[in-house]
């Protein structure tokens, strides 16, 4: 067993874990944060995507021990002061989810995408979410949801800049 300390959604957790414990199982089973999903379990589908030190990664292809000392954000950590994250709002407004299984992974991936491309073209969005599969094949509305969020985040930045 190895002792790990991992900060998830701003809260520090210290636990003894088996080295072979995958990060996604640590998140879902040890911490009972089940918003992060397990889809293919082979690093293809992206349902398990989380932010590790602000970068999107597939938590089914990483051991919890490798994340010792890291800061992780999952879908549960996105709401601030009761307000949805612009991406959560975008998926709701633009019907970006059908069954919803891929949605947490899509949103976590899209945060990283918008960090790199604050004004993404449609092509950049489609390449940017190529790490995530939607088996309802609802990609058109997912693209719209991300465009909605990009616009909203830009407006928020402009308002903040004006306020300062």
């Amino acid at each position: 067993m190895k002792k790990v300390t991992i900060t998830i959604n701003g809260e520090s957790h210290t636990q003894e874990v088996e080295p072979r414990l995958l990060l996604v199982h640590f998140i879902r089973e040890n911490l009972e944060l089940t918003g992060t999903h397990i889809g293919c379990d082979t690093s293809h589908c992206g349902a398990c995507t989380i932010l590790l030190n602000d970068k999107s990664i597939k938590s089914c292809t990483m051991f919890a021990v490798q994340a010792d000392g890291a800061e992780i954000t999952t879908i549960e950590g996105l709401v601030t002061n009761g307000n949805l994250h612009p991406l959560q709002e975008g998926f709701k407004e633009e019907h970006g989810l059908q069954c919803g299984f891929c949605t947490p992974g899509m949103i976590m991936r899209s945060i990283d995408l918008l960090n790199h491309h604050p004004n993404p073209s449609e092509e950049e969005i489609r390449w940017g979410i190529s790490s995530n599969l939607c088996r309802c094949t609802g990609y058109n509305n997912i693209v719209k949801a991300i465009q909605y969020a990009a616009k909203k985040m830009k407006e928020e930045t402009t308002v903040e800049a004006a306020a300062n």
Binding site: R20, F63, S131, N132
Partner: protein, 288 residues
Amino acid sequence: MIPASFDYHCPSTLQEAFALAQEYGENAKYLSGGHSLIPMMKLRLASPEHIIDIGRIDGLSYIKEEDGLLKIGALTTEADLEFSPLLQEKYPIITDAVKLIGDPSVRNKATLGGNLAHGDAANDHPAVMLALRAKIIAQGPNGSRSIDIDEFFQGFYTTELTQEEILTEIQIPAAGSGSGSAYHKIERKVGDYAASGVAVNISLANGVCQEIGIGLTNVNPQPLRASRSEDALRGKEVTDELIQEAAKMAGEDCKPTADLRGSVDYKRSITKELTKRMLNLAIERAKA
């Protein structure tokens, strides 16, 4: 899928890593980004008793030009390569390849060193490094050595690295004026291995090919240099006919196997076509 149990070691220096590798020998495997090893462990194709995680060793992630060489640290992630302005501007072959490796989330974790040390002919960096005539710097308990890329790949998932050695740096001759490079692969979907991939690096002076490197992905048991195509071009004035001839040789000289990605004939055919297209793109970039 749950891997078999193992003991986890997390050295903070190369010396500590070598000591662990010497202690546990054949029962240990080095882990970097983990995007080749962890899937194999989950499928129980690999069940090492000891994992030596080299991911926390400082000073192995960088991209710099120095002493006439492009030097890239082995722990540099694919995403770091993808967003490097230096590579985008002067080494587009690497940017071309990286964009087609895995997917954006995989690229945040996977490393250049791991892609090469895995020794998989289906990976993309081996062909790129063959085209660029890279040298692999390996460090071990007995010091450091430089391995020519042509000596590095020894066969199916086998490299020149010893059990204790760690690939620490990739060195590439700096791109000069008149040089151009390009890579492309045919893949069925994002994240798939190549049906075929072709890497070209060429330097031209007054339309004459001074030096040329052509590497092929996943059309041979190990990463393949298209030597006959290179020899046909080197020292010659590059014409459409010569490009056509060199491309034909690449299609003939590879040894693909038939699988879900296509028949042998199909793979030879696209290898030929990709060689032609990448030669033309590299030449266009060399002239720009």
